[in-house]
């Protein structure tokens, strides 16, 4: 293929579209389902129920510290399935490309997607490519949908008083990395990176406690704070988390501190909030730590039903603060 940039013809469904898909995308994705190039894929299935999810990705910039929109679009959908307690199996992947976008960038993005899929043990089995005129998009948008097999049956209605709230990693890394990519507040360094990663190992870690896991959610947009607020509402309970127990990378702590952002509201793309019964909290924390999530931490507990469900944070200084939904955009377009 001779073009180095996306042209309108790549989206017209003819020879150029075929070239882009067959010569650029499929060799990287490389699995028998995708290679058939059919309008749909037929896969084996061995479970009565299926978990199905979809997500779109518009992050700007598409390349951010230690990651890009391709890996993010796979990790994002895989993690949504994991959060439902499911083992992710198959994904679809659709690209909306802007005329003029570099084909070398498309390759890097597809490569990151393929690597993330391999790590998660999922196959990208079908997809689509559309091209929009220059000025009608921001380089690249990606949509992924995925299906998975139910594995852990979570049920927030079974969250008991004193149930434990854990996070599987440091908070706010992705949001802070995107902020740094846009604003170059810090000198260039090797430390700043998005936490973007697929989280299937969480399922492995939680397998022995399958019957005591009540809820999981990956804290993307809105961050940890938004998940806490929704959990309080969902369970009609009060909950309290301790700021001292929330793991933060030093650079995230520093960057958010000097810029006035609140890391609790920044997106994570390789993290999981887990609610489990209190009697197994230390075992769950230890299992997460052993399975690749060394920063896992019990950050708080439920304190019982309430007429006015609140997510409270005990601050570093010992004060109490109610977490409230933030309608203020801290950073636009993070995922």
């Amino acid at each position: 293929m001779k073009e180095t940039k996306i042209i309108r013809a790549h989206g017209l469904g003819g020879e150029k579209t075929r070239e882009l898909i067959e010569e650029i995308i499929i060799p990287i994705i490389d699995n028998p389902y995708a290679k058939k190039l059919d309008d749909g894929a037929e896969m084996p299935w061995d479970s009565e129920k299926v978990i199905f999810t979809t997500d779109s990705f518009v992050v700007s910039p598409a390349f951010f510290p230690k990651g890009n929109i391709g890996g993010l679009s796979v990790a994002g959908t895989v993690n949504d399935i994991v959060a439902q307690g499911g083992i992710p199996r198959f994904l679809s992947m659709t690209f909306i490309l802007e005329e003029g976008f570099e084909i070398s960038s498309v390759k890097k993005i597809v490569r990151a997607a393929a690597d993330e899929a391999e790590s998660a043990g999922v196959k990208i089995v079908c997809g689509d490519v559309k091209v929009v005129e220059k000025g009608h998009g921001d380089g690249i948008y990606v949509t992924t949908s995925g299906i998975g097999t139910p594995f852990i049956m979570t049920d927030p209605e079974k969250i008991q008083k004193e149930a434990s709230i854990l996070v599987a990693g440091t908070v706010g890394d992705h949001g802070a990395a995107i902020f740094q990519a846009r604003n170059s507040i810090l000198e260039e360094n090797e430390i700043v990176k998005s936490d973007c990663r697929e989280m299937t190992d969480v399922l492995k870690a939680l397998t022995p406690f399958k019957d005591k896991i009540r809820f999981m959610r990956d804290p993307t947009r809105g961050g940890l704070a938004q998940v806490m607020i929704e959990l309080a509402r969902l369970t009609v309970s009060d909950l309290e988390i301790d700021e001292r127990m929330i793991p933060l990378k030093p650079w995230v702590k520093g960057l958010t501190y000097i810029t006035g952002m609140d890391p609790l509201y920044l997106a994570c793309e390789g993290n999981m909030i887990i609610v489990c019964d209190r009697d197994c909290e230390s075992e769950v924390e230890a299992a997460l730590k052993e399975n690749g999530f060394p920063e896992s931490s019990v950050i708080g507990h439920f304190s019982g039903k309430s007429d006015k469900p609140s997510a409270i944070m005990r601050t570093l200084s010992g004060g109490k603060r109610r977490l409230t939904s933030s309608d203020i955009v801290q950073i636009p377009r993070i995922c």
Binding site: R314, S317, R321
Partner: protein, 367 residues
């Protein structure tokens, strides 16, 4: 080990040490036992407002102590007419506006903002000096910098104007709405409706001005830093004064603030700016609290160059920002707060910037 440039950053946790916090709260409790009435203290810096909300200080001090948020957010007190005049300048074909980011969101009284212009037309800068570079790169445009801020930003803006003079830049001007804090505090304290017993004085402003600059105002105040322990120390020192009937200025931010302040910066500010009467959004005109550009620098004064007129504009009906900024009521007393007036749709000035009293309350103190 990876080298994280922040791993040695200290004093975030240290200045929030819960054991020391407990000790100070205990001292504050016994101070208050000696005072027979409720006490109202006002902080006059947006960073204090945010820090108090974020650390939950209101939840650990007795209810008898009320912490009020004063006019410490420069964006919030910039009058609506100034926003309208900036928008009018931005409408001119030859003009490029340069500004600190939060100004772009601030609506004038009819809801119009600078945010509606394309990014190339209204450019956000982190330092006013970036505006000089933009002026050099765009010789066919008139680059106007929106000079908004207190003593913390005014010296840098003054220095920027001096750099423009040195470079004989013909296409750079500044539209000054800069303000100074000390006389505004006196005006607040002198207001017969005021219930303020003492001021938590702004740390950053005081780094520039020095502790002594408040000495002749006859107000009770303690210069404080921004961490929970700094603020609680300031409160304890103010309560001690109240208990003993003393009215004086003290310094609880010794690691940053001196008696005389940064004299170099004061000198630059004085060279370029002169004291004028100015309007504060929500408060009206307060005499001798504005910084106008001196005659000698009038070539760099956008007000003169473009014959700018600031329209008289009233705040929307029902908005109580004026009273909030004076400590007469708190944000949750306002009927618009949290219903019609929201951070993404601000009606009054205290909701427009993240450091405004209403915005901070919305984020941290909403029930």
């Amino acid at each position: 080990m990876e080298r994280d440039p922040f791993s040695r950053m200290k004093f975030i946790d240290e200045y929030a040490d819960p054991e020391l916090v407990k000790k100070l709260v205990h001292l504050i409790q016994s101070d208050l036992e000696d005072i027979s009435r409720p006490v109202n203290l006002m902080e006059v810096c947006g960073t204090h407002t945010m820090s108090i909300g974020r650390s939950g200080i209101r939840s650990i001090v007795p209810d008898k102590l009320k912490l009020l948020s004063g006019p410490g957010c420069p964006v919030c007190v910039t009058p609506s007419g100034y926003i309208s005049a900036s928008i009018e300048l931005a409408e001119r074909k030859e003009v490029l506006i340069t500004t600190f980011g939060d100004m772009v969101r601030v609506p004038n009284s009819s809801g119009d903002t600078l945010g509606r212009f394309p990014k190339e037309k209204v450019r956000i800068v982190y330092s006013p000096l970036e505006a000089i570079t933009i002026a050099m790169e765009n010789p066919d445009k008139e680059v106007v910098f929106l000079g908004v801020g207190f003593e913390t930003t005014a010296p840098v803006i003054a220095q920027t104007i001096k750099v423009a003079v040195e470079n004989k830049l013909p296409n750079f001007t500044c539209l000054s709405a800069n303000k100074i804090i000390p006389p505004a505090l006196k005006a607040l304290a002198d207001n017969p409706l005021s219930k303020i017993d003492g001021f938590i004085l702004p740390g950053h402003v005081s780094i520039i001005l020095g502790k002594d600059s408040y000495a002749d105002l006859g107000i009770r105040g303690v210069v404080s830093g921004f961490e929970p322990l700094d603020i609680l120390t300031g409160i304890h020192m103010l309560l001690r004064q109240i208990r003993k009937g003393i009215v004086e200025i003290e310094n609880a931010y010794l690691r940053a603030v001196t008696d005389k302040g940064n004299e170099l910066m004061q000198k630059v500010m004085d060279e370029v700016f002169e004291i004028v009467d100015t309007q504060w959004r929500g408060l009206g005109v307060i005499p001798a609290t504005g910084l106008g550009i001196r005659k000698e620098y009038s070539d760099y004064d956008a007000e003169k160059k473009f014959k700018v007129k600031y329209p008289e504009e009233n705040e929307p009906a029902g908005c109580r920002c004026g009273e909030i900024l004076q400590g007469i009521c708190i944000p949750t007393d306002c009927p618009l707060f949290g219903s019609k007036c929201l951070p993404d749709n601000p009606i009054g000035p205290c909701m427009v910037s993240s450091e405004g009293a209403c915005s901070a309350y919305y984020k941290y103190e909403r029930n």
